[in-house]
Structures are given as structure tokens and as C-alpha cells.
Symmetry: C2
Subunit: 327 residues, 2 copies
């Protein structure tokens, strides 16, 4: 059974380092010392975010290890996207009950795949015995003073969302056996929605200087929008008919279920952002450049909270706004 | 029962911010957005390190929450010290089974105490339901190119250690009920050795430009020295008689036990470092300036591995070199 340092050397030392060398020139010292040493170029600030994924809470017990790795890194990279930051490197605190070599092989393969795809190599971390949990911290770079904050939404700005929220929520119900009878292509789409979500890094970079506020949807569109509104000191009005719906959702679910998933299910890691009305075309051009679908779903107004309006402009109510720990 | 964001606001939002404001002028954006934003001044590099502490593995089940917090932060700050870096801020990934308010109150009090003492405020993180684990990442600053690496030891250099290794190992045995009959002062000393270790930040800063290599002792003097030697491509020779012993160890344990603890017990977070012989007096002056005891315990030579020599120069053997996960 391999010891700690052997596991690091065998499974983790090269994660992300097959990527373009230019992407990790700012890592002055990687795995193997007490700290990693990172260089932050002039004119840039460092964006950092830590997320912990717990087996049985954030992903099902017995989930495929490569999917868990991809999901853990994507959840963190999505936080960089939400600031308009570009990936620099990540650190990993992995606790696992036993050094299962097949699991480690699969986990590190998924981790390396995502690290290379998004240009974010592993720079350091920690491995210990414990219940299966994955703590990841991402480091990113953003031009000084240009980070996209949650606090910049102003009355009159438009509210936008990327992609089609609700797919990961449906995927979770499928993983829990609550969505039977799918064909292989549908299963594949849901598997990817849950285990390989795409952090909206390219879109976020393109939106720098255009968007006025941003955050990612990790807990649900409604609850995350209420956080953005609170942080900006404004009210958000969303038109339910403007919410982008995935074909899979509408094929598999009735309309009330479709909107429940799109508005309150978490884990999609789509980007929720606002921009002045005058930048409407600039937003569409940025999305086009990034190859990402975006939809204008509402307006920022004076006041507080979030209104969701039906086709006749009447407010709709949802039972739960999204996922919260300890509620 | 408070929800996630209420817990953050109530217990964590101000951790470390009562410290000298000058110490956190480089935190451009703290808790409350998708990422924290950190400024790295010109001429500095960023040192980062993540450590995860697991209940029942790194600290006893039911351990005092303030002690757990102090220990978790100290373990991370010790990694900054081992690089000669100064604290900038930390992030926290806390998972706990239930939002026990008394526990959170005590935990955040201990965390704030250490954060202020060492000038390292909390800049962000993540709170989730799960088995009790504390993931901390520290960010520190070090002058460009001046980080103390493990790889700088050269034949002829002297080997030094700070403090009196073995006290935390004895404390662990006491916590496990294997060290009965102590008086209150002795219990207090062991409690502090385990739950409030002092990261050697002041010493490390004073040693910049003097020490040739450094790392902290987290798993045991012998195993950590063997890592430093391997990384430097040298052999380390330690004289057992030169190992500094705490009065408590020698009062409470027989001599073989004393050396076993000093050489192979972990968790002391003392600094292990090397320096050219010509800098012997400079090392002592740095230690004096930092108010930290240091002891010269041996020599670096050509070769590999670690020799521990008795009074007659004969090599000694130890059953285990130190703590390793999954061995």
C-alpha cells in the first residue's frame, strides 16, 4: 500500500503540467516543498476561492472518481469565472479513507483532464486519511480593479444568465433514480451535466468591462440572484418566460417541474450577471466570441429581493429558493 | 438553526480584522463574493499552502473547538515560516455535521485569537455539512527569489532546530490517557503544546538570507530531516546529544522514550533548517532577535539519508521515523 508521498509522486505531481507551458510560467515552485510559490504579474490581482466537496452531500457515495475530480475543479473554476479572473493554479486537500489505487488513478486522470483543459495546473496540497472530501482552492489572475463583483448591479441594468440552468438538478434526480427510462444519449447528457460542468471562463473574460456584476449559480438561480441583489442593494425582476430551458428538461418534465429545476436547482455553475442596457449588443458579442449561449432574463430595479413574473406580469412563488447547508 | 450565510456573518466575517489594519491592506476584497481579491506588492512572491485537519486523525474526537482552530491555523502558518514568508491572509473550508452554535462560537474565538496574534485575517472560504474537517489555506508574502527551500542544504552546512521537539508528541500521549499523574502546570504546558503551538514566523523572517534550507517539523524530526536531505541531495548527520530536550519530557519520561518522542513524534511545528558554518553566529543572532531557542544538532555531508549518532559516534536506529498517512 503506497504511503502519502508515494501517492503524491505517482498520481498528482504532474497534474496539469502537460498543458501549455506558458500557462504555468507564474508557478515558481510547485509540489514538494512546504509551500508553493506563485508570481503575480504587475497590473494583476490574485483571485482566490476555496470549495469543499463532501461525499454523500455534494456527490453521491460511490460516484465515479474522475467525475468527482472534474466536478470539484469546475466548481472552483466557476468562482474564478464569476470574478472575471483567469486560472493560474489550484491546490488540493484530499482526504480519503484508504489509498485505493484504482480510485486514485481514476480521480487523478479526471483531475488532469480538467486541469489541462482549463489551463490550471496543480501547485500543491495535502493528502490525509479521513472521510472522502475534496477541498480545492483556485488561484486566478484578474487585471487590477477589474474584477466582476456581486455589488455592481444598478437599477436599469439587465440581468443575464449563461447556458440552461436546471440540467444539473435534473441530473441529480436521475442519479437518485427519480428519472427512469432515458435513452443512452440522454443519460450521457445528464452524466456530463453533473460530472463535467463547463466553468464559464471564456465568457467571463469576454465580459470584463461590459458586465456590471456577476456571480455563478451554485445553489440555484433564485437564491444566487437574491444574493447578488442584496449585495448590490437592488431588486431583481425576472420574467419566467425568458428563462432558457434545455431541450432535455422540457422533453422529460412537466412545465412546473421544468421551472422549479431551472429556478431553484443548484450545481449548474452557469454565470449570472448584469450589464447596462446600453451594453446589450456588447454582451451578445462577448457571448458569441466565447461560444456560450446567454439569455437576458430580467431587469434590475430599485428596492430589494427578487420578483419572478409570469406571462401576465404576476409574481410567482417558489417553495425553496435553492440549496443551503444547515437550513 | 442558523443557515450557512448567517453562520458566516455571525462567526466568521470579522476573524482577524481587529488586527493592525496595515496587515490586511493587501486584501482588496474579503468574505462575501465568489472569490477574495488579494494584492501582491511589487518585489514579492506569494507563498501558498493548504493543510486539512480531520477529527479523529489530526485531533481527538471532542477536542476543544478553540484549540482545534488554533492548531489548524498554526499548522498552516508553520508552512509559511518554513519558506521564510510572512502571513497575508487565510481561507477556511469548514465541514461540520451540524451547526452547533456553542462549538462555532468557541471555534471562531480561537481562530480570531490566532489570526490576530499572527496578523493573518480570514479572507474567504466555504462552509458545508459533513464530517468535522478543517481545510485551511494560508497566503504569505516573501521577497522575490528569497524563499527558503528544502533543496538548499550543502555539504559542510550545519543543521539546526528551533524549540524542543517532542512536546506535542508527549501531549498527544497525555490526551490519550497514556501520561497520568500530572500537576496542573504540566497539564497546561502540554495542552498548549498541542492546541496552541507557536509557528516560528519571527525566526523564519530573521533567517532569510542566512539559512540555506528550511522546512517545518510536522511529521517528526527524523522523517522531515530525511525529506530535506533527499530534496537537497545530501546526507544529514545528527548528534543525539545535541537534540534540545524540554524539561517536561526529561522529568516525565525515561531517556529512550525522550529521544523517541524528540526524534519521531510529529505536530511540534518547529523549524528545521540548515545554514553555512560561517553563518553560525548570524543564526544565533537571528534566533535572539526572534526570541526563539535554536540548537545546532548536526552537519550536512555528501551522500544520502540521515544518520543519528550516539555519544561515541555510533549510529542509532529508530523504529519509525515519524508519522505518515496510509503507511
Amino acid at each position: 500500500m503506497p504511503a502519502e508521498l508515494d501517492i503524491v509522486a505517482r498520481f498528482f505531481e504532474r497534474v496539469g503540467l502537460a498543458a501549455d507551458p506558458a500557462l504555468h510560467r507564474n508557478i515558481r515552485l510547485g509540489i514538494g516543498d512546504d509551500c508553493a510559490i506563485v508570481h503575480v504579474p504587475r497590473g494583476k490581482e490574485l483571485a482566490i476561492s476555496m470549495d469543499v466537496l463532501v461525499e454523500g452531500v455534494h456527490f453521491p457515495t460511490g460516484a465515479p472518481a474522475d467525475g468527482v475530480a472534474q466536478r470539484a475543479l469546475a466548481a472552483n473554476l466557476s468562482d474564478l469565472a464569476a470574478m472575471g479572473a483567469s486560472p493560474l493554479c489550484f491546490t488540493l486537500g484530499l482526504t480519503l479513507p484508504a489509498p485505493d489505487e484504482a480510485w486514485l488513478e481514476c480521480f487523478s486522470r479526471g483531475l488532469a483532464r480538467s486541469a489541462e483543459r482549463y489551463g490550471c495546473p496543480l501547485a500543491g496540497g495535502n493528502l490525509a486519511r479521513g472521510p472522502l472530501q475534496i477541498a480545492i482552492q483556485v488561484q486566478g489572475l484578474v487585471p487590477r480593479g477589474k474584477a466582476l463583483l456581486r455589488s455592481g448591479a444598478r437599477p436599469g441594468h439587465e440581468i443575464w444568465v449563461s447556458g440552461e440552468p436546471g440540467r444539473a438538478g435534473l441530473a441529480l434526480e436521475w442519479l437518485q433514480g427519480r428519472c427512469p427510462g432515458l435513452d443512452t444519449a440522454q443519460e450521457q447528457e445528464l452524466h456530463e451535466a453533473f460530472y463535467d460542468p463547463t466553468p464559464r471562463l471564456a465568457l467571463a473574460e469576454a465580459l470584463r468591462g461590459i458586465a456590471s456584476a456577476a456571480q455563478d449559480i451554485s445553489d440555484g438561480l433564485l437564491i444566487d440572484l437574491s444574493r447578488l441583489a442584496a449585495r448590490s442593494g437592488v431588486k431583481a425582476s425576472v420574467e419566467i418566460a425568458a428563462i432558457p430551458l434545455s431541450g432535455l428538461l422540457t422533453r422529460l418534465r412537466g412545465s412546473s417541474d421544468v421551472f422549479r429545476l431551472a429556478m431553484t436547482a443548484g450545481d449548474d455553475y452557469e454565470l449570472l450577471f448584469t450589464a447596462p442596457k446600453s451594453r446589450h449588443r456588447a454582451v451578445l458579442a462577448a457571448a458569441d466570441q466565447a461560444g456560450t449561449r446567454v439569455s437576458c432574463i430580467g431587469q434590475v430595479a430599485k428596492g430589494e429581493g427578487v420578483d419572478v413574473l409570469d406571462l401576465s406580469g404576476r409574481p410567482l412563488a417558489f417553495e425553496a429558493a435553492g440549496f443551503e447547508h444547515f437550513r
